[in-house]
Subunit: 397 residues, 2 copies
């Protein structure tokens, strides 16, 4: 005979933390960062963060907002003026009108991705992710109990290339979304118009969501902005596009981004924002508004800064015999392979602790990315030059 | 014969938004707010928000942080100095040391609750919630696919009272946590030491999490702070306590709170913060630090302000024959029943649109709360007096 009490004792044995969350393990970039975040001698190129501070005119808008007493609850989906400005900015970049009702202001791009996961991912649903890709979107899917299926980019003639047949073949009846991050973090790969059309059509035909992370759209060399899915989609297409102020406006620490979705999802997002963070501080939104209204010149500065940074980094890497660097149009990261380094988590830790240069290990970007390393190029030329000398020693070491 | 294509067509028919999220329906408070948020003639008592702006010395700390260039990514679990200050503040309030490794800075209390839900709720798990309770914690459980079981407070001798036997009887083998919000939003009920002990012991014995929302701990009349579970728990007990700067320091719009958990959950929270919002802006954390270091006098001001507000509100409500108001020690809300008003969502909408006073409908706080209304008392005496005249007309009308 089992007494109720016995049952309860057996309950006591259950793990108190979800398997889905335990299994996530350590954030592989944070695992390296934790080693050396407090060490001022390490040159930190592990995060996707420029060392340029936020421009003064953007800071001033926030300070003015605080001074004006904007310390009360914000509208959940964002200030109407900021939502309009985001819509107008996207129209300026892509020449296609976006209704304000499609815009939600978020606590950075990752919050937009987490909100999306909450809207679409049931347990055991899967999302097909073009990899390499930064780890957080996949983690958001896992937190909701979903499954990530990676489809790796190929390297063809020293260029990254997506095989859409392979991508489509990875979907099945439990697929809820395809995730495309272009320009891609970490590889710099940028999707072209024809493949965008194929993927959007596929998603529409199959009733899948297309989740497009276009955070790096401005940091490309040969155009004002990378091709966006927004340019080819209709307002009600199953498309969610994520953007951010972090990279283009040197605003990583402000936690400010946006999400463009079909208007019919708006009411649900309004609620979900409330259940996650209850909105973004008004004065932070004022900073974003100023960035969009007055920031084009600064974006050009940032583009030139990253381009120069990439030139310094790739100039050195290309001279090192054991290094493979694949070229791309996007300038924010260098993503490279070091021959013989198959455990890049260990190598990145050694680079930080022994050589004083902080890199992100490839294993953070997908299972097939082991052997590669990511380095952020949006840093001062002097720092990058010093970092490359240290890295050379680590590689030759 | 079913062709693969047919299967795909059937996939096309699947709903594109999760049932779990559709079922949440509208946030019942937001549903009233949306009616009149833009109308300056409505006195807004629907949110839990004082009309006092954030004190200048707190704002100044944020402005100084921005001026000092604190515009880069924050440490995920918060500035070490703020984590220490939160630990010291709790020790000051409760006389028991809290290790810094138990403290995580969050984007407000709701973000702390959402993070907790992500750590502990598997689909179909349930959480037993003491109700009435503000809707967001239950919604967070639902977003993770969990099930909410309400256990209502009883009214005995004009006081709210929790029946712990009823509470424990509501748990079963799929229960993962008990959620207690005390001082309670909306009723003002405050749990006593003996029941805290019973619940903590029960949770330890059964291997359940005890999630305690203690956001209103300062806004009580007869003590410096309400009894906290932190006073009776050991560091490794399965206790998570949520706090916030919003109410005590008039910082609702800053989105800043904290979570106290066993140290062993720290690494998981570090990752999850990154996957949700990637931390709280440094300058917002500076504001919080200043609040804790210099804010005791302001907390006393806020306490007096709310107490005065509650006196104005209850003075009027007690004179209205059709109104039932249950007394409590907490001063931030008045929660009352209007005889004959069984559809308080409709009544709250009418109060807003026809009478110019914004209330939160009882149905937002749990299924058994229909018939009740919540009113925030942390507002200026003149506004409250005017609001009460309007409400009287609405009730008598």
């Amino acid at each position: 005979v089992r007494h109720p009490q016995d049952q309860h004792e057996s309950i006591h044995m259950r793990p108190q933390i979800r398997d889905a969350v335990e299994r996530l393990g350590n954030h592989k970039i944070l695992e390296v960062v934790r080693l050396g975040a407090a060490d001022p001698n390490i040159i930190p190129l592990w995060y996707g963060e420029s060392d340029l501070p936020t421009p003064g005119f953007i800071c001033k808008a926030a300070i003015d907002g605080i001074g004006a007493g904007e310390t009360f609850y914000p509208p959940k989906r964002g200030l109407p003026s900021l939502r309009s400005a985001i819509a107008e900015h996207l129209q300026y970049l892509y020449g296609k009108p976006i209704g304000n009702d499609r815009v939600t202001v978020t606590s950075g791009a990752i919050n937009a991705i987490m909100l999306t996961a909450q809207v679409i991912i049931n347990p055991e649903d899967n999302v097909v992710v073009v990899t390499p890709a930064w780890p957080n979107p996949s983690a958001a899917v896992s937190v909701l109990g979903g499954v990530v299926r990676s489809v790796d980019l190929d390297i063809v003639d020293d260029k990254y290339q997506l095989d859409t047949e392979k991508l489509f073949a990875a979907t099945d009846s439990r697929t809820r979304a395809i995730f495309v991050n272009s320009p891609n973090n970490p590889t710099g790969w940028t999707i072209g118009r024809e493949q965008q059309r194929q993927i959007l059509e596929f998603c529409k035909r199959r009733g899948l969501w297309l989740l497009a992370d276009e955070v790096y759209t401005r940091l490309v060399q040969h155009s004002q902005a990378a091709p966006s899915f927004l340019e080819i989609a209709e307002p009600d297409d199953p498309l969610i596009v994520v953007g951010s102020f972090s990279k283009s406006y040197a605003m990583t620490g402000w936690r400010l981004g946006w999400l463009i979705a079909p208007a019919k999802v708006g009411a649900i997002l309004d609620n979900l924002v409330d259940y996650n963070v209850s909105g973004v501080p008004l004065f932070v939104q004022r900073a974003g508004l100023s960035a969009l209204l007055n920031g084009e010149e600064f974006v050009e500065t940032m583009k030139a800064y990253c381009k120069h940074g990439l030139e310094i980094v790739s100039g050195k890497l290309e001279k090192l015999r054991r290094v493979q660097l694949v070229s791309s149009d996007c300038t924010f990261y260098a993503y490279f392979r070091v021959e013989g380094q198959q455990d890049t988590l260990a190598f990145a830790k050694r680079c930080a602790s022994e050589f004083g240069v902080g890199l992100a290990p490839g294993v953070a970007f997908g299972p097939a990315s082991e052997g590669w390393l990511r380095l952020c190029c949006g840093r001062s030329p002097l720092m990058l030059a010093e970092a490359m000398m240290r890295l050379e020693r680590a590689i030759l070491g």
